[in-house]
Symmetry: C2
Subunit: 232 residues, 2 copies
């Protein structure tokens, strides 16, 4: 007699992520998974990022992940871009956005009218690093007030990401930290991780971040032999 075994949860998660990835590739949507601790400033960064991309006629949407509340989605409303809120509370209060949530959220977006999709993950420097959602880029936001030792204490996130945005650099004069020591510790964990010092408040570092985003998108489009989504 064979005892049925529940299908491996991570396998199921990865299968859905692959489906998401294929769909995003089909429409040429460069998708960025933004991860960080609570309060690193992801939403402020995101609002400014979308404003900047819109100036270059690049169209964005956001999947906003939270355990509960629509606070971050509300903060993005004035931008007038599509935002889909994903709340994990009714599903046990998951501590990360899962690929099945992204799959569900994609149904609410007009994919043929997008250049970028940002997934703002749940504020958690641990668990989200373990779950691939189908994105093209994984970006960790680390803020100066969190302290220089964080890459050493939460290494997986820094191994799994393609870029680190070192945020709130405007606070440097008021803190006993240095961006250089942050970067040294990041590179102890992942020597290849690009680090951009940035401030969602003052706009410092945005030129470099915008260039990175546009270069990465061009790279993905050419790699998959895709045209950009039809201009609106």
């Amino acid at each position: 007699m064979r005892i049925p075994i529940v299908r491996d949860v991570l396998e199921e998660s990865n299968a859905r992520a692959q489906e998401n990835h294929a769909l995003l590739n089909k429409f040429g949507i460069c998708t960025v998974n933004l991860m960080s601790s609570p309060g690193s400033g992801k939403t402020t960064l995101l609002a400014r990022t979308i404003s900047e991309l819109n100036k270059s006629a690049l169209r964005c949407a956001v999947i906003e992940g939270d355990i509960t509340s629509t606070l971050d989605s509300e903060r993005l409303q004035p931008l007038g871009v599509p935002v889909v809120q994903v709340n994990t509370d009714p599903f046990g209060g998951d501590c990360h956005v899962g690929s099945h949530f992204v799959q569900g959220a994609l149904k609410y977006l007009e994919l043929d009218k997008l250049d970028y999709l940002f997934i703002e993950n749940i504020g958690n420097l641990v668990c989200p690093a373990e779950f691939y959602l189908g994105e093209h880029e994984r970006v960790v936001v680390l803020s100066l007030p969190e302290g220089e030792d964080k890459p050493l204490k939460y290494p997986l996130m820094f191994r799994e990401c393609n870029l680190c945005l070192l945020n709130k650099v405007d606070l440097a004069p008021h803190l006993e930290v240095s961006a250089e020591r942050f970067t040294e510790n990041i590179h102890k964990i992942n020597g290849a991780l690009r680090v951009i010092s940035i401030s969602g408040k003052t706009g410092e570092g945005f030129e470099e971040w915008m260039t990175w985003l546009q270069t990465r998108r061009a790279d993905h489009l050419s790699r998959h032999g895709l045209k950009a989504a039809e201009e609106a």
Copy 2:
């Protein structure tokens, strides 16, 4: 034919927590589980807290929870108090301290020589709230740079705790936040949660926090009809 079922993980976790609780009660050790996001300043707070308690001849030990590294334990070394480092990395990189880790760590401590035990949980504002370790007090540390909306977005932590230390209040002049709005949001989630504004850096709020700790300890000792551990 009966199919064996693996014993409920949470039930197992709670059973071990109860054993820890009984042991801590037996020795009259007031045990505080400190939880927060990464970088809220728990270790700095803890170092100052232990120094202050030592001045009153109150003896402390620490169980230091991290996924990896012994950085926080090293920061506490100069205090000369017993510190047991718990690393979850070899056990799958658990995102919280589990009651079985505490049980293991207690074996390394001379319990008859302690008044307080602090468990510094892994930096994570989500998952640790779900796991009872056998402690007497659950304290959430929230730092001003994290932003006033955090209690609304991560409500479970604020429902599950007995005290909130609102840390890094020395940074208030440099941030667009107010301790009052933080407290309002905390009380929307849990109207009974005591909030102490504090700074691990300047010592602001420590008198109130020390009084709270000593009152809670006296309460636990009298409730369980216990004497304090024998003075050294």
